[in-house]
Symmetry: C2
Subunit: 168 residues, 2 copies
């Protein structure tokens, strides 16, 4: 595990693929056991420490982690502007699966369905997130939005938080 | 137009079809010009008079009819229980098209995308509503929910309201 944490950041980039015309698959391995990774994903107190790219300050407005519950995160950008992200949980099955909708309020009505699967690799965890869109056009819009760099920054922040929690 | 209003209710049933594996198409003709039908669809003050089956009392919590705006209707059932419906507008193009998401809060996270098209037939208007789901299973769940009788009741109430507005 220690070796893995010493890999350069590039070696840990998320793998993003488009196996069908309405989906985006993202795979990323984290150096922490599955229970801990799942706990971090579902803890409202920890969201501000890792969710979103660096420079964005996130506060949790709602995070009712159960089937049918709503979530809403407010992000403040470095220029002081705010934008919010929201959705609802369809399924929460610790420590294996979270299915939720995802909507960026400035583009309200463009909703995707995200299924995050947490795979136990012993001391490591593979998180696979599949985003499903109504249409290929919406999927391609997300791919063209710069999601990849934002995602990799988010995952690096999550690496750092997981390392802190382990050493703490 | 007077003749049409005298047709028995059965003759005006909505036509419900499933032309693809993720969609429900609904067609219904109303005895009123397109501008009026579109105006009624987008008027928060009129929603309680026609939206939903008879016996349900609907109040409009939000209805911000513009791209990116949210809507939320609270329905009180005859037994006093309440449930809400909500979504966001993607497109509002008077008097032709409304694209919006649709979610029933007790099943939050199950979101469909509805495109309503208003076709000018002179003194009548054909409204075609296409509901698009993420998966066939979700589409079939909606078909099995008794939507058809609820929809026909809603459309009959809309007939009545349109007739009232014309005579008033």
């Amino acid at each position: 595990m220690t070796d893995a944490r010493q890999e350069p950041a590039a070696a840990k980039a998320a793998t993003i693929t488009t196996p069908s015309d309405r989906e985006i698959h993202v795979e990323r391995v984290f150096d922490a056991p599955r229970d801990r990774v799942f706990a971090v994903y579902t803890d409202p107190d920890l969201i501000p420490q890792w969710w979103g790219p660096r420079g964005m300050t996130v506060t949790v407005d709602k995070m009712d982690v159960r089937a049918g519950g709503d979530w809403r995160f407010v992000a403040r950008n470095p220029d002081g502007s705010e934008e919010a992200f929201r959705g609802s949980y369809r399924e929460v099955t610790p420590p294996e699966r979270i299915v939720q909708t995802f909507e960026w309020e400035p583009m309200a009505g463009y909703v995707s369905l995200e299924t995050a699967t947490f795979e136990n690799l012993g001391e490591r965890t593979k998180v696979t997130t599949v985003s499903l869109f109504y249409t290929t056009e919406e999927r391609d819009g997300m791919l063209g939005s710069g999601m990849e760099s934002g995602l990799n920054e988010t995952y690096e922040r999550l690496d750092e938080l997981l390392a802190e929690l382990e050493s703490g």
